[in-house]
């Protein structure tokens, strides 16, 4: 190459200078590795914040701030033709799903900011515009599957039941009827147009193990946020409790 020198630069040093520089350089390297190892162990030993050492949790929270600020609700999850959906839908997790649901008494409870609660029947939900979606459902474990769901977009639900004021808050929280499973979701993700209060899978009512009668489908999040068998929906400015976040996982868990 044109600009390369003919040879690498040379210097003359005394034997003593070479010895000192070598010693110092090796000492610094040893120090670097020791510091890295001690730093690693220090992080591991820190008190836990929701199932993970505090320093890691604070990085996760910072990551959440960064990526939530980059979140653009006009970016849609890729949709597939409904025919591309897998008929054998993988079932993962059954927390909060003990016992039966009695449809005669089941209501979706929506806690409003004034303190009053809406009690909605399945018909109240089904009369709203329905949206079908086939998308690549992503599990935090690393697998994904193209599956077909249908329900009312959460954004339409908010409009229909005059929850505009509530939807200016920072989070929604969802809880199963037995309160065993619960998630918190940031509002921009909840209001993204592909987020559904879902009551159908593959064109039929949800199977029990997929969250009958109503579950959340939120394509911009990992599966851990797609709560099955919704009992209560509420709004909050602080982070609602989250089942997997308490067990060491990232709270945001979004794409």
């Amino acid at each position: 190459m044109r600009n390369l020198p003919e040879q690498l630069p040379k210097r003359t040093l005394t034997r003593r200078q070479i010895q000192v520089r070598t010693l110092v350089s090796f000492a610094v390297l040893l120090l670097l590795f020791t510091a890295a190892w001690m730093g690693f162990n220090w992080i591991k030993k820190q008190p836990s914040d929701n199932g993970t050492p505090k320093p890691l949790r604070s990085v996760l929270n910072t990551n959440e701030k960064i990526f939530a600020s980059l979140f653009d609700s006009t970016r849609r999850v890729k949709e597939y033709p409904l025919s591309a959906a897998d008929k054998k839908v993988r079932v993962n997790g059954n927390a909060g799903m003990d016992g039966q649901v009695d449809m005669a008494t089941w209501r979706l409870q929506v806690i409003r900011s004034r303190g009053d609660t809406l009690f909605l029947t399945m018909d109240d939900i089904k009369k709203l515009p329905k949206k079908d979606i086939a998308f690549d459902f992503k599990c935090i474990e690393g697998w994904s599957q193209v599956t077909h769901w249908a329900g009312v977009p959460f954004s339409r639900f908010v409009e229909a039941y005059q929850l505009k004021e509530e939807s200016t808050m920072n989070y929604i929280g969802l809880v199963t009827p037995d309160k065993e499973y619960y998630v918190g979701i940031d509002m921009p993700s909840a209001l993204q147009e592909q987020t559904l209060l879902c009551y159908e899978m593959n064109g039929k009512p949800l199977p029990v193990n997929q969250g009958f009668p109503l579950r959340l489908i939120i394509p911009v999040k990992y599966g851990i946020k797609h709560l099955k068998r919704i009992g209560t929906l509420f709004f909050s400015n602080t982070k609602p409790a989250d089942y997997w976040a308490e067990k060491g996982y990232d709270y945001y868990a979004g794409h």
């Binding site: 190459m1 600009n3 390369l4 020198p5 003919e6 040879q7 690498l8 630069p9 040379k10 210097r11 003359t12 040093l13 005394t14 034997r15 003593r16 070479i18 520089r21 070598t22 350089s25 090796f26 390297l29 670097l32 590795f33 890295a36 190892w37 690693f40 199932g51 993970t52 050492p53 320093p55 890691l56 949790r57 990085v59 996760l60 990551n63 990526f67 980059l70 979140f71 653009d72 970016r75 849609r76 999850v77 890729k78 690549d136 992503k138 599990c139 935090i140 474990e141 690393g142 697998w143 994904s144 394509p219 911009v220 997997w244 067990k247 060491g248 996982y249 990232d250 979004g254 794409h255």
Partner: protein
């Protein structure tokens, strides 16, 4: 009595040595935490026809390294150290470009032809190898490739981490599933690079190795008067 003088060749700038040795523990942490994550869906195998030749990874491998049931922990380390990996890599690239060190590093027109000669030399088939300044042709190709791989890990990683917000990355990788496989293959690539790198460093000897720490190589040629006036 005056001390005897020795000639040294100034080889690696201080900044490059720092980037190199910082990258080692950072990448180690990324690979380790990556394995904690991969374990939760360890779907990759090498197959011949329908026969499984190798499963990434065997149960004994997981057990000996204490990998199972640590997905959340793995993700948390991974998404912390990704910043260090990114910043260190970015600083390295910027430094290499600005300082002109890239001229020693990037392959040139002759490199691809010469690299073959280097390989023959390293395999003891040929006695001599083409002349080089800092890195020989094979080193230029290998070291440049590993940097391109680093950029690849970043892009495939983004495609897995935020496939919607970084839709362009997911598209570039051929989708979410493809990105995960590519991310994995790149990691296997680092491990293979590491093995060859260590063997080559051992083979080349102490003077070369210590130069990555001290920055200089001790010149083996005796100083003569003809040296000074040549060229």
């Amino acid at each position: 009595m005056p001390q005897p003088l020795k000639e040294v060749i100034v080889k690696h700038p201080l900044a490059i040595r720092w980037f190199h040795w910082c990258n080692f523990p950072i990448l180690l942490c990324m690979i380790w935490s990556g394995m904690l994550i991969y374990w939760a869906n360890d779907e990759y195998r090498i197959t011949l026809g329908k026969k499984e030749v190798f499963h990434f990874f065997p149960e004994s491998f997981y057990k000996s390294l204490g990998i199972p049931f640590r997905l959340a922990e793995g993700m948390n380390w991974h998404f912390t150290f990704m910043w260090l990996f990114f910043i260190n890599g970015l600083l390295y690239i910027v430094f290499t470009l600005v300082s002109g060190q890239w001229r020693y590093l990037l392959p040139n027109k002759r490199s691809f032809k010469e690299a073959f000669q280097v390989v023959l030399h390293d395999l003891h088939i040929k006695r001599t190898q083409p002349k080089f300044l800092k890195y020989n042709a094979a080193q230029r190709i290998a070291y440049t490739s590993v940097i391109v791989m680093g950029i690849g890990s970043l892009i495939t990683g983004l495609a897995i981490y935020k496939p919607v917000q970084f839709g362009w990355a997911a598209w570039l990788c051929g989708g979410y599933k493809a990105a995960r496989l590519e991310h994995f293959i790149l990691t296997i690539g680092y491990v293979l690079f590491f093995i060859v790198h260590i063997l080559q460093v051992i083979k080349t000897g102490w003077n070369n190795f210590q130069a990555m720490i001290t920055g200089f190589e001790i010149s083996k040629l005796p100083k003569t008067k003809t040296d000074a006036k040549s060229s």
